[in-house]
């Protein structure tokens, strides 16, 4: 094993890794079918972080993403099921325009709506073909009494991940009518564990991914200091910073895993203490999971890379200021560049009379 060489960041390999991801995957990736839009997001945002979006054809990507939008039918009977699909697996004929097609089982998925919007932003789209009122209606239909969200209107597990997706959607579309913020905050607070990390819900073991969802959601809502006391925030900082072993793990006494360099790292950044972590050891670990042949990053050294870890590994490196990588907005998990594009869009929407804030 070439220790010295492992410290070298192989930019071109990663670009090619994401390019291949965007093309064709073999059948053994079947379990990713319903979440293909998240895979596109990992690849596009990864290329964005690498400042390599020039290798893809933006327009064909944008069209394909819009084909996944669940649009209202003529009579708008399906409004509460609108949003974006993860893929074409239901069998709706390809279309990038409305009206929507009536189908007993077609509906959006909150994580796909989130990553779909992010992907469009990354590609420079102006979101003008997004039916924002329909997205808000679809979102409202997913929130439960306890403040958490389902992923799909047919029902699914409900937890803090989907609160994060919902908050991101509202933030991007500049419209918080899609969720009851107060209830969401209650659920988030209820998920704060005795050890100052956040679990997936009340009583559950604290975990780096859910802690990210909690803190990032509160930041997007602009309610961080309202929802959590200074003492609680200090406790959360402590819990997060104790996750660093070399890289970071997601729970005490679990192995370190590249993706937590982002989940926990970004949380620490949002809490203003990421600067106190050990950048050197974090970087060494992330690079030890780099696949020198096919590119990308894996969760562990000597393991196979996958799009999620490839993307989050890059984001982890971006947080510590790796040269050549764009900065990532820690709450929205897109580059600052894409984030600024979103801000610009929001300014034009507000200038045009706040069209996003109108309730349907």
């Amino acid at each position: 094993c070439f220790y010295f060489e492992n410290k070298h960041f192989l930019r071109d390999r990663h670009v090619r890794f994401f390019q291949r991801t965007l093309q064709v995957l073999p059948e053994r990736y079947a379990s990713l079918e319903t979440t293909r839009l998240t895979i596109i997001f990992f690849a596009l945002s990864g290329l964005d972080v690498l400042d390599a979006l020039d290798v893809i054809d933006r327009n064909t990507m944008i069209e394909w993403i819009y084909s996944l939008q669940v649009l209202p039918t003529e009579d708008q009977a399906n409004l509460s099921r609108c949003g974006f699909r993860g893929s074409s697996h239901i069998g709706i004929p390809y279309s990038t325009k409305g009206p929507g097609v009536l189908h007993p089982y077609d509906s959006g998925h909150v994580a796909m709506t989130y990553t779909g919007l992010c992907s469009l932003l990354i590609l420079g789209d102006d979101l003008s073909r997004v039916n924002k009122q329909a997205c808000m209606a679809g979102l409202r239909a997913l929130q439960l009494e306890d403040g958490s969200f389902y992923a799909v209107p047919e029902g699914s597990e409900n937890d803090i991940r989907f609160i994060y997706c919902a908050a991101s959607i509202c933030y991007i579309l500049d419209d918080w009518s899609g969720m009851d913020i107060q209830k969401a905050i209650e659920y988030i607070r209820g998920s704060l564990s005795y050890d100052s990390g956040f679990g997936q819900g009340a009583g559950r073991e604290s975990h780096g991914g859910w802690t990210y969802c909690a803190i990032a959601s509160l930041c997007l809502m602009g309610r961080l200091e309202e929802a959590l006391s200074q003492r609680e925030l200090d406790g959360i900082r402590r819990w997060c910073i104790m996750r660093q072993q070399s890289g970071f793990h997601g729970r005490p006494n679990k192995p370190v895993d590249t993706c937590y360099s982002f989940w926990v790292g970004a949380t620490l950044e949002l809490l203003d203490v990421f600067q106190y972590t050990n950048f050197d050891k974090n970087r060494s670990f992330i690079l030890s999971t780099q696949d020198r042949l096919v590119g990308g990053f894996a969760k562990w050294p000597d393991s196979h890379p996958d799009p999620l870890h490839a993307y989050l590994g890059l984001c982890g490196l971006s947080l510590i200021g790796e040269p050549g990588l764009r900065k990532v907005h820690p709450a929205l998990n897109i580059t600052q560049r894409a984030f600024q594009h979103a801000e610009q869009l929001q300014l034009t929407w507000r200038d045009n009379g706040g069209s996003c804030s109108r309730r349907h």
Binding site: T21, H89, P104, E157, Y276, F279, S303, L308
Partner: protein, 348 residues
């Protein structure tokens, strides 16, 4: 996160897809047409001839396209056809099992299967056996656990759950889905009675199992609570090997432990104790100035010990905490030096 399955154990390289094994069909011998185990595509099955298969349509420029074999596409083309018509039949129910076998992460298939379970009044006990087998094979899949929860809710019968989950945990004692399901079952059906015992058995196997510790807290907080001193005492005794003749303060006990068990966690805990004392003394104003200074000095000593020796990976953080504490205590005299930030090294 977001339902993306961890595929880190698989290579990304695009290999030639073997898919459906065509050898069997080439060997057309006497037994071929009589062999009941020969796989037949749905499109070749007489009893499905009435249904028009629906292909997946990704348009002219598909992105992240998965290259399905003929067998895979065939099953799902017919699944899509059933969905479109919202067919409620036994043949549809049977097909969902094939679809699940090919992709157990497809939440639409599971939802449709649940619709059919109810529409056809299927035997839910059989469904429990079915989902048990699937979870054993794929214990980190969100959909299968959600499905099990729905069936248990319909049956209103949790009697198999604790044993089943214990079995899954015996294969992976930290499986988050398993613990989550366990908490739901216990809370929903009030099955608290033997859970502490279960937790203890897991801690005996691995005292560092954080999931088990979390479960311990979960059970106690929902049953006896922590306010009863007897409970706190029992927990403290659980945490150390020695017995206690009379209960000293927690701080004294931890200070004793510090001599022999000087871990970063223990030191951090001590720091937190001192910080709490200082914070309370701010409010109550009944602490002697010398005592405050002494407590602050001890707290800052701990920060230095952690930063320089016991927890160097978090050096910058411990120095930051030391600086913050000094500022909060607003003492002007120079105390322990060396709390300036050393900053991060330049990245190469």
């Amino acid at each position: 996160m977001s339902g993306v399955r961890d595929i880190s154990s698989e290579s990304v390289e695009v290999k030639e897809d073997r898919g459906f094994d065509v050898e069997a069909e080439d060997r057309i011998g006497d037994g071929y047409f009589l062999d009941p185990t020969r796989y037949i595509f749905y499109k070749d099955r007489k009893e499905w001839a009435d249904l028009q298969p629906v292909t997946q349509d990704d348009g002219p420029n598909p992105v992240v396209k998965i290259a399905y074999s003929e067998k895979f596409s065939d099953v799902y083309d017919y699944f899509r056809a059933l969905l479109k018509n919202d067919e409620r039949s036994n043949r549809a129910f049977a097909l969902t099992a094939d679809a699940i076998e090919l992709n157990a992460a497809n939440y639409t298939v599971w939802h449709y299967r649940r619709v059919l379970l109810q529409a056809l009044s299927k035997d839910l006990r059989e469904e429990m056996s079915y989902i048990t087998a699937i979870i054993e094979e794929q214990p980190k899949n969100y959909q299968v656990w959600h499905h099990r929860r729905m069936v248990v809710e319909w049956l209103n019968d949790p009697s198999e759950e604790l044993e089943f989950i214990a079995d899954i945990l015996s294969q992976d004692a930290k499986n988050y889905h398993a613990w989550q399901h366990r908490q739901w079952v216990i809370q929903e059906f009030k099955l608290w009675d033997n859970e502490l015992e279960f937790v203890e058995s897991l801690l005996e196997e691995d005292v560092r199992n954080n999931s088990a510790w979390n479960q311990r807290h979960f059970v106690i907080s929902h049953t006896t609570g922590f306010s009863d001193p007897a409970i706190v005492e029992r927990e403290i005794q659980m945490l150390q090997d020695q017995g206690l003749s009379s209960p000293p303060s927690l701080l004294e006990r931890v200070l004793e432990l510090k001599e022999t068990h000087c871990s970063p966690y223990l030191l951090a805990f001590l720091f937190d104790c001192y910080e709490d004392i200082l914070e309370n003394s701010n409010k109550k104003e009944n602490m002697l100035e010398e005592d405050r200074k002494e407590t602050l000095r001890k707290a800052l000593d701990i920060c230095q010990l952690l930063a320089q020796e016991k927890d160097t990976i978090r050096k910058e953080y411990w120095l930051f905490l030391g600086r913050s504490l000094k500022n909060k205590c607003c003492l002007s005299e120079p105390m322990v030096d060396g709390f300036e930030a050393s900053g991060q090294q330049e990245n190469s």
